[in-house]
């Protein structure tokens, strides 16, 4: 943990397209343990928002309870934030989104917060296609209460104290794909090159974007026998694909040398370019995406990268057919039917 961050920045660091500097996306000093994977994820969020040139005050960051849920204090200091109750971030995000559809919603949660106490809220936010990016910082344990296994801990994984997890683990990505999330990805806090474009794509996708980021707990779950340790994940992960995310404002300039390129155009005309082996699954096919996850799991391999994208996914406001104006901007003239209508209603009750 760091107690001091120098305020000095190189005077010639360029601003982004909206005129913001990277520091405009930074937050308070982290109070997480030194080396915590969550800090790397926070940095990736900062980098992604900077690169997308999002106005910080238009982003809303929300969380539940736990180490991961503390982290919104450590990024996007110029954005509104809401640290709510354990497992309930999705409902706060739902309400906030219903009130103002024009803001960008970023929810941060943990494996305990999402896969245990908040499982109901998580899957139902997915089902209603809430327009948000939902990031789980997944370390397989409860850090703030000193290392108990969580529901995403792999069966057979061994803790620092030597106890073996005997329960089935919950694969949040697989659930999200089954329940209709439009963008599902998995990454590793140690792989910034993959994580930053994933977050950018997730923020641009309309509907619920879910990213499960394996983020080792250096204090309680980083022993070599743990399947959520830095060492294990580095040795046992395989990317579905390498890819570039191209926001809709940019033109494609990169040269690709991979054998196959799949383009997925998102609702806002951003494009995901996937470079993959010719026999890799089609990531816009739900069943292939789930099969691929299961196949890799059977081989003891963690599959990372974009797992599934539905470029046509909708969102809650479209499902409910709500006004295109933010509901929080409406006043009496929009909302109150007036006294004459009330008199007519009275008459119907006589």
């Amino acid at each position: 943990m760091t107690f001091f961050r120098p305020t000095f920045r190189h005077p010639e660091l360029p601003p982004n397209a909206a005129g913001y500097h990277r520091r405009d996306y930074e937050g308070g000093i982290s109070t997480l343990c030194a080396g915590c994977g969550h800090d790397s994820i926070c940095n990736a969020i900062i980098q992604a928002c900077f690169e997308l040139a999002l106005p910080p005050h238009r982003i809303v960051k929300m969380s539940g309870i736990g180490c991961s849920s503390k982290s919104p204090a450590y990024f996007l200091g110029k954005s509104h934030g809401f640290n709510s109750v354990h497992g309930r971030m999705p409902s706060i995000a739902t309400g906030a989104n219903m009130a103002n559809r024009d803001l960008i919603y970023l929810g941060v949660s943990g494996d305990g917060d999402t896969a245990s106490i908040g499982m109901g809220q998580f899957i139902h936010a997915v089902r209603r296609s809430l327009n948000m990016l939902y990031i789980v910082m997944n370390n397989g344990c409860y850090g703030l209460t000193k290392g108990q296994y969580s529901a995403t801990a792999d069966k057979g994984s061994k803790s620092k104290k030597g106890g073996v997890n005997v329960l089935e683990s919950i694969d949040l990505c697989e659930l999200a794909i089954q329940l209709g999330a439009g963008f599902v990805a998995r990454s590793f806090s140690g792989d910034k090159a993959q994580l930053v474009p994933l977050i950018k794509a997730g923020l641009s996708h309309r509907g619920l974007s879910f990213i499960d980021v394996i983020s080792p707990c250096v204090t309680f779950n980083n022993n070599p026998e743990s399947t959520k340790s830095y060492h294990w994940v580095r040795e046992h992960s395989e990317a579905t694909n390498t890819f570039d995310f191209v926001p809709f404002r940019q033109t494609i300039t990169a040269e690709y040398e991979d054998d196959t390129v799949q383009e997925v155009v998102l609702h806002d005309n951003s494009v995901i370019h996937l470079h993959k082996h010719h026999d890799a699954p089609d990531i816009t096919d739900r069943r292939q995406a789930i099969d691929s996850l299961e196949d890799h799991k059977a081989q003891g391999v963690i599959l990372t990268g974009v797992l599934y994208v539905n470029p046509d996914s909708t969102d809650t406001h479209e499902i409910l057919h709500t006004s295109e104006r933010p509901l929080n901007s409406l006043d009496e003239t929009d909302l109150c039917p007036g006294s004459a209508v009330l008199e007519a209603i009275n008459a119907r009750h006589r």
Binding site: G81, T94, A99, G338
Partner: protein, 618 residues
């Protein structure tokens, strides 16, 4: 035995089978009485069941406008074989037993103080109508027709009602009207003069309406500007959301786009329902949920967060008999303590107590202003009786000049004009209420991080003890400010000399006023106070202090309002006596009179007995 005789003053009970379509027939009868200008009060007494179990519909007819439940039954329409005996036994002496005489009454139905009136409903129905699916429904209409003849009612009022009910499907009106006339004709030809209870046209109704509290509540939310609803189905609150959705489809559609100016989200549970409300209100929309006791328990954690993070929320609690596997279709006022102090830590929440549909409407609309002004959850305490039954009462009124009070909200211009540093939890006006912002208002001002109590006035993280205490003291000051904004109690002083006071609230109101009036006729003067809000203003405490003894009438066993009064008002416990009516049925005035008499007798006060009179005890 003298048969009961009365004009526009009696109680009829329909005993039927749930799911047999009797509800609409019974409602047709009640509405006809209302349309003849006579105040009427129907109560649906129904089981937690969709089809098959016994259900009752009690209609009180009262020219004087006493529309609380009275207690005792003067005439029963018994068409449920399962409860025939029970219904027969429940009749008051001199009462009338209207039954389906297609089969003879069992031989042991031998009360000599009951007038039995047989109408062969099933036989008539089978003979007159071919469609077997329609028969059970039309049988219900036959007994309404018979009743109309027995009570000397104007048949045209009923036929007009049927025509308007089926105006979109006139082919259905025809058999219904025929069934009505069949029943009417049979009773007129076979039982002329048998029944001495009469409905006579009157002019007591004026501009009154008949509406259920839940519809009025939904209208309050519609008029009050609610745009986000988070909810989970639970009896008896569900019809609020259904009505809100129904009204939103009529009055909240954008003409140019066809889109709805409301987001109604059916959540996965009550935890999510209140979370949606809090998230939306935090983000500047007016939001509400409606639930009942079990939902309150689930929402408790979130209510605490909203209290400490100071997020507005409107919650309608349509109370029922607990617990989850309790009696969800029976009424009670038993969530007061659970709501007043919901959650953990030092939490307390303003409560509003509507007594009729008009107050359901007004208090719900007001709750949005109060929640925004006070930046805290506000709970409207309805109940099953108030919410689900039709109530006779004054029409709903909306002041066209009324504007929403959104409370202390910094818009972009205010933020721009700030001279000093803004603090989300900094009290600059001395009322304990701070200025807030909605996310996204200003590019670089007004941003804050919302969390519970581990923060200072500027919403910066801290666990400093003195900062915490300072915040808690400010919240206590805000609680004091709330008292000045909440509706005052309705105090009626009938005599400056009276040493007795009676306190009540919510759906108990009409029965309580009737009982008090009865006591006054018997020579006992009592003053009354109808509490309309929590926290209590000084006037509430003063009323109690000014009387020697105060009865607190409420629909729960433990005297929860009494506990609140003692706890908040620092009153001597012996001064407050609970009169509890908590059997799950709407409270009855005759029960209250008896209970008050007994409580007085225990304290050495006996009342002269009076002959049975209107609204009185037999």
């Amino acid at each position: 035995m003298k048969p009961l005789a009365a004009i526009n003053d009696f109680v009829i009970r329909f005993a039927t089978v749930n799911g047999s379509g009797s509800a609409s027939a019974n409602n047709l009868f009640a509405k006809a009485v209302f349309r003849m200008g006579v105040p009427v009060s129907p109560k649906n007494i129904f089981p937690s069941n969709i089809q098959g179990l016994p259900t009752w519909y009690e209609v009180r007819v009262n020219e004087q406008g006493h529309v609380g439940r009275r207690g005792d039954i003067d005439l029963v329409v018994a068409v449920n074989g399962q409860t025939l005996r029970q219904d027969y036994d429940s009749l008051a002496p001199g009462g009338y037993f209207v039954f389906d005489s297609s089969k003879p009454l069992p031989e042991d139905f031998t009360r000599d103080d009951v007038i039995a009136i047989g109408i062969p409903m099933t036989a008539m129905c089978t003979e007159a109508f071919d469609n077997p699916k329609m028969r059970p429904l039309l049988k219900n209409i036959i007994y309404v027709g018979a009743l109309a003849a027995l009570l000397d009612m104007e048949l045209e009022v009923l036929t007009d009602s049927l025509r308007s009910q089926f105006r979109k499907n006139p082919t259905l009106a025809e058999p219904n009207i025929r069934a009505l006339e069949l029943g009417y004709g049979y009773a007129r030809d076979h039982h002329a003069g048998a029944c001495l209870l009469t409905v006579r046209r009157s002019d007591r109704v004026g501009d009154a309406i008949m509406m259920d509290g839940n519809s009025a509540t939904a209208l309050g939310a519609l008029y009050g500007g609610a745009t986000v609803v988070g909810w989970y189905p639970i009896t008896p609150s569900t019809s609020i959301i259904e009505a809100f959705g129904h009204y939103a489809e009529q009055f909240r559609i954008e003409t140019d786009t066809g889109r709805i100016k409301a987001a109604i989200v059916q959540a996965e549970d009550e935890l999510a329902a209140i979370g949606i409300v809090i998230g939306a209100a935090w983000n500047g929309a007016r939001a509400f949920t409606a639930t009942s006791g079990p939902g309150i328990s689930l929402m408790a954690e979130f209510l605490g967060l909203a209290y400490f993070a100071e997020v507005p929320a409107v919650l309608i609690n349509v109370q029922r008999v607990g617990p989850s596997t309790g009696m969800p279709t029976r009424t009670q006022q038993s969530d007061l303590l659970a709501c007043a102090y919901a959650s953990h830590g030092d939490t307390k929440h303003p409560l509003l107590f509507p007594c009729d549909p008009r107050e359901c409407f007004e208090m719900t609309a007001d709750a949005f202003d109060l929640a925004d002004r006070l930046q805290t959850p506000v709970l409207v305490m309805s109940d099953l009786d108030l919410g689900m039954n039709d109530h006779y009462g004054p029409p709903l009124v909306w002041d066209p000049a009324r504007r929403y009070d959104r409370g202390k909200v910094m818009d972009a211009a205010r933020l721009e004009a700030l001279a000093a540093r803004w603090g989300r939890y900094k009290d600059t006006d001395g009322d304990g209420i701070c200025w807030r912002t909605y996310p996204g208002t200003h590019p670089d001002k007004g941003v804050y991080f919302t969390r519970g109590t581990s923060r200072d006035e500027y919403s910066t993280y801290t666990e400093d003890s003195s900062t915490y205490v300072r915040n808690m003291e400010r919240l206590a000051l805000k609680w004091e400010s709330a008292k000045r904004l909440l509706p005052l109690a309705r105090i009626k002083i009938t005599s400056g000399e009276a040493r007795l006071g009676v306190v009540f609230y919510g759906s108990t109101t009409p029965a309580a006023y009737e009982a008090i009036e009865h006591l006054r006729h018997r020579g006992l003067a009592v003053n009354s106070m109808r509490i309309r809000a929590f926290p209590f203003q000084q006037e509430v405490i003063d009323f109690i202090s000014a009387h020697e003894l105060v009865f607190v009438i409420e629909q729960n066993r433990d005297g929860q309002m009494r506990t609140l009064l003692l706890n908040e008002g620092g009153l001597p416990p012996a001064k407050l006596v609970t009169i509890a009516a908590y059997d799950g049925l709407p409270v009855a005035s005759r029960f209250l009179v008896r209970a008050l008499e007994e409580a007085l007798a225990e304290r050495g006060v006996t009342l002269p007995t009076s002959p049975r009179d209107q609204g009185g005890v037999p």
